[in-house]
């Protein structure tokens, strides 16, 4: 009998703590709305007094959010386990610029969906993940100068009749990734088409290969990577948007932003940029 009562008590207390914990979480997150909980628990430094740049130097490494699933830009090589690509080379150069060593870097995987929340809660210092500079996003983060100029295009089957955005009419299904500008653009340029959005481009490409859509749309640079993987697909020649990629930092991180912009200028002046570009994209950057 006694034992039973004790259990009842323990369970009661457990429930009460759980409920109050839920109530507390509810309060704190609705107050801050962007959810800076991570900040408080993970990084013990007071965020107001110390700049991100100082934090990076103190920590001795730069933490960058990059894609892990994008051929040519940020792709985890299954053989070596290393993440490789255009964005990665740019990130390493930045680590060299700030800390003097390109290996003083930690790469964290982000997706189009997670990158802004991860930046804002302090998990990463900067985003270098094929991120298009848009007015909407400028409200959330600060962008560097353009580090890559892309344009949206379409990936279709070799024998497809689609050769331009004009061929995307009613009844045509276009696949893309959730949270991308590509999704918004295609809805504007081809409002009649059916747009399906997937977790990432790898899944969208899988769906395309399974015949679940007629075309996949995103920036041409990424499409070239996919066409390289599977020669049954080709990239439509025309691009129908201009997508300037920028490096994103937390809003108000002016100091870090200045260093990044300075770095990008040096990179272009030294010819190093052209080398990285050619290494991954396979052609010289258009000027």
């Amino acid at each position: 009998m006694n034992l039973k009562n004790m259990w009842k008590k323990i369970i009661g207390i457990g429930l009460a703590t759980m409920l109050s914990a839920i109530a507390l979480v509810g309060c704190s997150s609705s107050e801050t709305s962007t959810g800076s909980k991570e900040n408080d628990s993970k990084t013990t430094e007071a965020p107001a007094t110390e700049s991100t740049l100082d934090k990076i130097k103190e920590r001795g490494k730069l933490i960058v959010g990059v894609k892990y699933d994008l051929n040519l830009f940020g792709l985890k090589n299954p053989q070596t386990g290393e993440v490789e690509g255009f964005d990665i080379d740019i990130a390493k150069g930045l680590a060299k610029k700030i800390l003097g060593d390109e290996n003083k870097i930690e790469l964290k995987e982000v997706t189009s969906k997670t990158r802004i929340p991860m930046l804002n809660n302090g998990e990463i210092d900067a985003i270098i993940a094929t991120m298009t500079i848009t007015e909407e996003r400028k409200k959330e983060v600060d962008f560097s100068d353009v580090y890559f100029m892309a344009g949206q295009s379409l990936l279709v089957k070799k024998d497809s009749k689609i050769n331009s955005i004009k061929d995307i009419k009613k009844g045509v299904t276009v696949l893309t990734a959730k949270g991308s500008t590509s999704a918004q653009n295609i809805r504007e340029k081809a409002p009649e088409a059916t747009v399906l959005e997937f977790e990432n481009y790898a899944e969208a490409f899988t769906a395309l290969k399974a015949g679940q859509g007629d075309a996949l749309t995103t920036d041409n640079a990424l499409l070239y990577g996919m066409a390289k993987q599977d020669p049954n697909y080709r990239v439509v020649d025309e691009t129908f948007t201009e997508e300037p990629y920028g490096i994103a930092v937390r809003k108000g991180d002016q100091e870090l932003l200045n260093v990044i912009n300075e770095y990008l200028k040096e990179l272009k002046a030294s010819g190093e940029y052209d080398k990285i570009y050619e290494k991954w994209i396979g052609e010289k950057p258009k000027q």
Binding site: F198, E203, A210, G211, Q212
Partner: protein, 217 residues
């Protein structure tokens, strides 16, 4: 406070998602109940090959992740020429998956009916199937209502798997709205509320049914 303007501005998307989640759950519920019952009968029927078939189905399906099954329907079937849209593929995957669990629940219910019932039915001239249909199953149903209710609630929540294959359900639109507005917490709280609108009445309904059937026993 929650940002209700998000709910109002994206009402259409929430509603479309809600409707599709409701549709998918409803269809999967009906068909998995039917399929699950058939498999349960297979498992206990006095025919060896049917036993094997039923056991193989249950052990195979319930021991792999739901998302894998859905992917088989979504990208696997097209390789042999059968193309299903994401909603259909998702709902089918959900049905196949849930049926394995329902089969186990119903089998347990049937086995809980005293053996004498079957013997009595058979000796009064009914066939095996007739005894099943008119004597065993009606008694078993009462016993399986609570665990079945659990499966149905799980089914509604599991329907969120459609979001991954662009099945236009609540979770899919939740993801879209969150990536459009850059608001994570509030958007998904609203998604959770819509799920509750489906699951809470379901569990209350199951509770009600349970009490009614208990009284009639």
């Amino acid at each position: 406070m929650l940002n209700y303007s998000i709910l109002i501005e994206h009402w259409d998307m929430y509603m479309q998602g809600f409707t599709n989640t409701l549709k998918s759950s409803f269809l999967a519920l009906i068909s998995s109940l039917a399929l699950g019952t058939i498999i349960a009968v297979f498992r206990i029927a006095p025919v060896r090959p049917l036993n094997w078939l039923g056991t193989a189905y249950v052990e195979f399906i319930r021991n792999i992740p739901l998302i894998l099954i859905v992917f088989v329907f979504f990208v696997g079937l097209p390789t042999i020429g059968i193309r299903l849209d994401s909603f259909t593929a998702g709902t089918l995957g959900l049905t196949v998956y849930t049926a394995a669990f329902i089969a186990e629940v119903i089998r347990a219910g049937i086995l809980a009916v005293p053996k004498g019932q079957m013997e009595a039915g058979r000796s009064s001239g009914l066939t095996y199937l007739q005894t099943m249909r008119y004597i065993i199953l009606p008694q078993a149903i009462k016993m399986v209502i609570p665990p079945l209710g659990n499966q149905f609630i799980n089914l509604v929540k599991n329907s969120s798997v459609l979001g991954v294959i662009a099945g236009l359900d609540l979770m899919y639109f939740g993801d879209l709205i969150s990536s459009e507005t850059f608001v994570t917490f509030d958007v998904y709280i609203f998604v959770a509320m819509f799920y509750l609108i489906l699951t809470v009445p379901l569990s209350l309904g199951v509770g009600f049914l349970e009490r009614r059937l208990a009284r009639s026993r």
